[in-house]
Symmetry: D2
Subunit: 354 residues, 4 copies
């Protein structure tokens, strides 16, 4: 694949021995992909909940299991640690893993604050260790196809992007819907546009659990002139994952709930017509073919996991590195601030993530 | 119909003689409905563009035509005037019509400012004339069905509403997409919720025509606790008219582009389960039948026009009266201010529209 | 347009004076298009039902109206007659019109039997008059686009076609759903494939009105190897107009109820892989882009009417001439025979329509 | 569940030791459900292809594996055998299994001929063994909901059923699309209507592989007056699994590719109006609510497997017993005969399956 990240098939001799920390909702997906990856050899699964471990061990009786994170840190054979625990624990666990010399993968969102993330990034840098954040969508075929189209100027100048990620549940108890669902859209936006918003304007509200917003409307301004809107909700009758990108040349819809036509490119737009005489300019609406391009059909998480293993082996910097994780966290912080203050908020331009 | 407004069949002897001012894009729809209405007798069509008039006269050779608005004012036989001109002219034309003693219907948006609207309202009141604003959606079967459901507490407490009204074009030259498309959603929201938002938070941008935003993201806070989002755009690959209403009891989707299942009621929601012992509460997700109720099938504009004629005859106050038009204008003003200032804006609580 | 039939804009001086016979359900559509056509001058509307006439005359007060068909025959100024009456009357009316020297347009289905149709065709030929049948779909943008694709071998060899035309109502009293709905699909099939089926296999049944089937399943074999299925029904919960065409190269779906993506071309198929060694051949499934081509956006009936008028003026043979009408009638007869006999039926190869 | 078949939770002490024969495409699904079933203890997986076995054993390292079917027959601990091999081998394997005293489950279609099926049925009867056929759809929530609605006369008298089961591939090498896909629809039809068709009318054709039809149009007449159509294809651009049931009272659509609204009930129909005076009767079209009922959400295969295990333990006769399998096979034979002969075919009324 020429997508800018190393991935399978990986013609290398090396094999990686890993630990997965957190075997609740998401961890088992990492484990499944690690089991099927040819680059991964030994897998230790770690969770402080014994019940979770025993569920996983029924499916994968040949892996190793422990409830003791310290055991992993002490295990010299383990090269890399993948962390899929609640976000509040990311910083502590990742810090320990890095300090123990392990290459580290952290699920999204990276950390609960920019401050935490910067500390991890600097630690990894100083130790020469891989630190990667699990922005899975940046490895998914439709998102990569869209990146390709935008880069190739197929859409012309991007005007605005509108994204909706709503469904019924699952209410988290520790983080709001902002931190739960918006990281997906934000990582896509930042990946596509290659810039971080300068201003954020958000409204959110907690309906079911006190103090934990389950609905959010997020408006974003990017330095290059693009505006964007992201709607997230745990309270919606239908599951929607729909992103519209409007450019000066073409327009695009990406519906991740579709099986077949996930991406549709509309050859539509508005063209200026020069005023014929001394009159006003004319607008004409163009409406051509609609194309749903063939997409690769691998599992994004598989590419992500393989990319992490490849980075561990080669020392290459991961596509979704700590900086990329930090950018998303910085926007999440701004969104939260905007909701709390009921006002628009500047996104702080941290030097480290510039 | 028991919808709270008088309408066909109208068992009255009286007949109304009317003038329609503005025969461009929308006027002919008013004319068609007036022609088919049994309550309307004489129709004068007025436009300063002769070409427009002659187009209409080909279709309706038996109506009267004039380019001179003053002629209408002077015509004692004309009881009522319907104004379907660009919004900037609403105030001037309506004021003259009222001063000439004509009952007046003004297309949405009512006026370009609250100030103008208040003056018209007071003038009509002082003269005892009917003054109605063309919020057509408040006469449409799906919108009325939703009103009925909300009033009957079928959805429980309304949490939030999200509405999308986007398509490609038509760019207006005098008003932004905010004033062009948002009045529809705002009039529905205010009609359903029976309150006016207290705070508005909007982002919009002009991509095609300088200074005239063609995309807008509008977030609204209502005094009763509901939040809402309205997205409007003249730059979108697909025509969407979709409103989601989430309540504590049920959820609802309204898609005005559907022919058959315009409204779908989802018996879905989140329920609390009392903590069994000393533990945490549990959330459980409920998912029952989905019902698409049968809707009446008349044309909303027809009901609206008939309601106006009925009010003229009976002196009854129209459902979408000047106050209703003013409320929408007051929100539009706030939205525009918010876009211009890049900040959240309080909706001024005008006494007159309280 | 290079579609093989002459149509607007028609740069001719001549104007045609016409009569429309039958002003019930369909006739007014012909009238509307004739009124808007620049080639048509005088229009007489004829119906033996005075009520129908007065409905139409309200909309078009400037046309001529009569209940007397003989009057039209006698009117020397009338060049052409368009017949939109129940099918049982087509033969008698068209025969008289031709005998009176009028160019004649007959709505589909052409006649109630091949015998009738042949007589009309021969009469028109002997008198040098235009005789055209109203197979409107052969003038519609999606059907023409599909014709173009098939002719250009874009789909490869056509394997099979499956078409569904079902909705709730309207039950006809004089003809079955076969004669009411199937002519559309059959005219498309014969137009695309340029051949007439050799064998027909149909099942149908009358559920609501005794003796008048309201549901039909029609299977067809074409001499070139294509098979086809047409399902028609007046008893269906949803309105479906959906045709699938499967070729050796690509596949196509045509959904006439869609506003935007009426035609979708799927770059999908099965490819043989040569056996590697002495093994079995391999099948591989190909799945590429899906394209919804931009279509022209005129009204098919308008093109049809204009084509008729052009043929009247130029003497050109119409695209949907009597032969084309006869071919469809011959299949309808075979379908009916098959339903009655409960067996498969050979389509008689009439010399005249070969 | 009150659906007429015993299933989970199964409050029994007994446990069943089983063998699954055939670990290719479908077998692993049986295995997965057996592994998760609490009623199943020991599982032997058998396939003559070692590669298939080793694939499965990687996922389930704790099961038993063998390439020798005789070994299973000889293993006294094995109570039951589940056969998921190509249909041509069903008869031979099932006969041996029964003769060895094993309760036997055979995947659909049951056998390649009625003759074979009758022999197996009689053998099982004479030995007092359970013999069940894997008509999975008869255990699926939407199909059971539809059965419930039909039984409760919710649809009124069923008029006709139209079913479409098409997709691209997978071409089988040993059986046509008729034997591969139609068993699903036929088993549903026979289950819902509780009768076997008397006449079959089918057209099919082999496009990709010589002699093995990959497209079929099947028309069926049932003794009670229902007609039905089933379309099956391995050559279709889209995957469709759509069944329409039209009754005198209501109409229903079942789309198995939908996640949420699999079943929709339309309160639609045609009603007679008594002639007012001496006139004709009037038809009026009724169009009420559309309801998508909540469905149970278990996996049908799981219920099927559990039901088999329950029947083994209790001696109860399975819902989809040999007779049920035979009825489907008898229709498949008739369909094949109809395609070969190009004519309509009577369904032989075998005494045994009457």
């Amino acid at each position: 694949m020429e997508k800018g990240f190393t991935v399978f098939p990986l013609d290398m001799d090396g094999l990686v021995d890993v630990a997965v920390v957190g075997c609740g909702y998401w961890g088992p997906n990492l484990i499944r992909n690690l089991v099927e990856s040819k680059t991964c050899r030994k897998i230790i699964c770690c969770d402080n909940n014994n019940e979770q471990l025993s569920k996983v061990s029924k499916r994968y009786p040949n892996l190793f299991y422990t409830t003791d994170f310290e055991e992993i840190l002490a295990d010299g054979s383990i090269n890399a640690v993948l962390i899929a625990t609640p976000v509040a624990t990311h910083f502590g666990l990742a810090k320990k893993a890095l300090q123990a010399g392990k290459h580290t993968f952290v699920e999204k969102p990276f950390t609960t604050s920019v401050e935490e993330g910067v500390e991890l990034m600097e630690l990894a840098n100083s130790l020469g260790l891989t630190l990667m954040v699990g922005h899975t969508f940046e490895y998914s075929p439709p998102v990569l196809k869209i990146k390709e189209l935008i880069s190739a100027q197929e859409l012309g100048t991007v005007y605005y992007i509108s994204s909706t990620r709503v469904n019924l549940g699952l209410h988290q108890r520790d983080v709001s819907v902002i931190w739960d669902l918006a990281p997906h859209d934000l990582s896509m936006l930042l990946f596509w546009l290659e810039e971080t918003p300068t201003r954020v304007f958000a409204m959110g509200k907690a309906f079911v659990q006190k103090g934990i917003p389950d609905v959010g409307f997020i408006s974003l301004e990017f330095p290059g002139g693009v505006i964007a809107h992201v709607q997230v909700s745990w309270l919606s009758p239908s599951k929607l994952r729909r992103t519209t990108i409007v450019g000066s040349g073409k327009m695009l819809m990406y519906d991740d709930t579709e099986h077949i036509e996930k991406v549709k490119i509309f050859d539509k737009g508005v063209d200026f017509k020069e005023p014929q005489s001394f009159g006003e300019f004319q607008l004409s609406y163009r409406s051509g073919d609609i194309v749903s391009p063939k997409l690769d059909s691998y599992e994004p998480l598989r590419a992500e996991v393989d990319h992490f293993l490849a980075c561990v082996l080669t020392g290459e910097s991961p596509r979704t590195d700590a900086k990329s994780g930090l950018r998303v966290v910085s926007v999440l912080e701004a969104v939260e601030r905007s909701i709390r203050n009921g006002s628009s908020v500047e996104c702080v331009a941290h030097d480290v993530i510039a």
